[in-house]
């Protein structure tokens, strides 16, 4: 890969995290918040945004400092930086809404332990220019938020009959409580993965058939 292409920021830099290497659906990273807080769409969104913020801020900072961080202490440094931003987010959310803070509980602080963020710091931010890291982190964050929403929406609609707290089906709707329980989290994420796998295999099969026909 030439130096030039390595440095340029393309659509791919952003969209990589959104779809092809989606941190949740493809790389299965950061599962803990994915499942724990997605029992409602609003929680999912808040968690997604909080994570994106940490991802962006830590990515940018690490990228800026990448030449001055000695290799031996880089991971420790990354963790400290990430923890700093997580603490900031934690207080910010408390300040914005106590209810949201209570709903997300310790999982805000657990963003620190989200392997996605450390992974990005190590694999991307420490090797790329700030703007590029920033773009990539934005894509990753968006992909993460999207995945969280995918779960949050399904679980809230089925499990509570509402979306972003707005009642959808009227008072007589019987919610499927299991969906907002832990088991539902596992099952819905499993179902999403199954769906994607099915789509992928179908696409491969169709391509194979198309290739066979043209031959």
């Amino acid at each position: 890969m030439s130096k030039r292409s390595n440095d340029s920021i393309t659509w791919g830099t952003f969209s990589e995290g959104l779809w092809r290497d989606n941190p949740v659906f493809v790389m299965l990273l950061g599962m803990c918040p994915v499942l724990a807080v997605t029992n409602s769409a609003i929680n999912a969104l808040a968690m997604g945004l909080a994570t994106t913020f940490v991802l962006l801020a830590s990515g940018a900072l690490i990228s800026l400092l990448r030449h001055s961080i000695p290799k031996q202490v880089r991971i420790a440094t990354y963790i400290v930086i990430i923890a700093t931003f997580v603490t900031i987010v934690d207080y910010a959310i408390q300040a914005i809404s106590l209810d949201l803070y209570n709903a997300l509980g310790a999982f805000i602080q657990l963003i620190v332990a989200n392997c996605m963020i450390l992974g990005r710091a190590e694999a991307y931010a420490s090797r790329n220019r700030p703007l590029k890291s920033f773009t990539n982190a934005l894509g990753m964050g968006a992909g993460f938020t999207l995945a969280l929403l995918c779960l949050g929406v399904v679980r809230e609609v089925l499990g509570a009959g509402s979306l972003f707290g707005i009642d959808l089906f009227g008072p007589r709707f019987e919610p499927w409580v299991v969906m907002i329980l832990p088991a539902g989290g596992f099952i819905v994420l499993g179902a999403w993965l199954l769906l994607f796998e099915w789509l992928k295999q179908r696409k491969e099969r169709l391509e194979l058939e198309a290739a066979a026909e043209t031959r």
Partner: protein, 348 residues
């Protein structure tokens, strides 16, 4: 000698004990039929409708997944029908039909199709379906109907015909209108746990109490189970040891505090223990194959059932105990591999 016969060529052994999977499965269905008949007699049209809808949904789902995975139909092995009937028997008789269908679909999809069908499922599909709706619709699944209520053959329990995705109506008024003596809306287990009232053993034996469709008559289940055991279609050690485990655990607590804890006979006869022990814990697919493993598995189910009943938040623990037993089966199997003939006893 003149005509040339075809010569068959197969591998040894050239003899077979006879009997196959389908025959076992069919016999399980036969054994459940009396229980179905009893529940229909007891709860009327609603129970019949529930049985039909749940079983039909199970079979339809099975066919659907066959088709999705481009497999030939596996309805012929009767396993989907068994799942359906068992599932229906574990639901409250007035359970809304649409929820029954959800349970049936969950049973086949999560419990079976996901793992590759018959023989591959990790846990009992019927119980997966039951656990799913227990978690999804906690209110409906704990709404009980009195046994032998008036007009059960001419009208449905009001909750049965709830339109899909809607909440079932509250049936308190209906219950008082169809029963003579006040029906508390509680199963024997709930009565014991929350009110400290112990039901008459005879009622529970004969099944004149409230409860899930198929669990009320301990006697009938016992007879049907014994039929299967006699025909060697199930491993009698499992139900016996499940009940032994339950009885001993219950007995210990009963001896500690006879006022607070129910006596072992009650534990035996109440709730789904009988049905679970004879028809679900004994499910071959989910139980260990090693002789020692079977003992551990069955005792574990019995003990867990009583522990959950006495100390847990729920009134009934059989379902969860069996599911956990199923989940632990691969482990148990691995840890209890029999000592191979000639293997040294010490050293390994």
């Amino acid at each position: 000698m003149s005509k040339k016969p075809t010569i068959e060529l197969r591998t040894s052994p050239h003899a077979h004990a006879g009997g196959d999977v389908v025959r076992i499965m069919r016999n399980v269905v036969y054994a459940m039929l009396p229980i179905c008949a009893f529940t229909i007699w007891q709860f009327g049209l609603s129970a019949l409708a529930l049985l039909l809808v749940v079983t039909a949904t199970c079979m339809a789902s099975e066919r659907l997944f066959n088709r999705l995975s481009s497999q030939p139909s596996s309805l012929g092995d009767w396993s989907a029908a068994i799942t359906g009937i068992l599932l229906a028997l574990t639901l409250p008789p007035g359970f809304p039909l649409w929820m029954g269908a959800v349970a049936a679909f969950a049973a086949v999809a999560l419990g079976k199709a996901l793992f590759g069908g018959l023989g591959m499922n990790a846990m009992n599909p019927a119980l997966i379906g039951r656990a799913f709706v227990q978690a999804a619709f906690p209110v409906a699944i704990t709404t009980w109907t009195p046994a032998f209520f008036e007009g059960r053959f001419t009208s449905f329990v009001p909750t049965t015909l709830t339109p899909p995705f809607l909440q079932p109506p509250v049936i308190g008024d209906w219950v008082t209108s169809v029963t003579v003596d006040a029906f508390s809306g509680a199963t024997p287990l709930a009565l014991q746990k929350f009110e400290g009232v112990q039901m008459d053993a005879m009622d529970m034996l004969l099944g004149t109490t409230a409860g899930s469709a198929g669990e009320t008559s301990a006697l009938l289940i016992l007879i049907c189970g014994l039929y299967l055991a006699a025909r060697r279609m199930l491993d009698w050690r499992i139900p016996v040891l499940v009940m032994l485990g339950a009885a001993v655990t219950a007995g210990i607590f009963f001896l500690i505090d006879p006022v607070k804890y129910p006596d072992p006979l009650f534990v035996f006869l109440s709730g789904g223990l009988m049905l679970g022990a004879w028809f679900m814990a004994s499910d071959m697919v989910g139980s260990p194959v090693t002789p020692l493993g079977v003992v551990i598995y069955a005792l574990m189910i019995g003990v867990l059932t009583v522990i959950i009943r006495l100390f847990g938040g729920l009134t009934e623990g059989v379902m969860y105990a069996i599911l956990l037993g199923n989940a632990a089966t691969p482990l148990i199997d691995q840890l209890t591999q029999p000592r191979v003939f000639g293997e040294q006893r010490v050293g390994k």
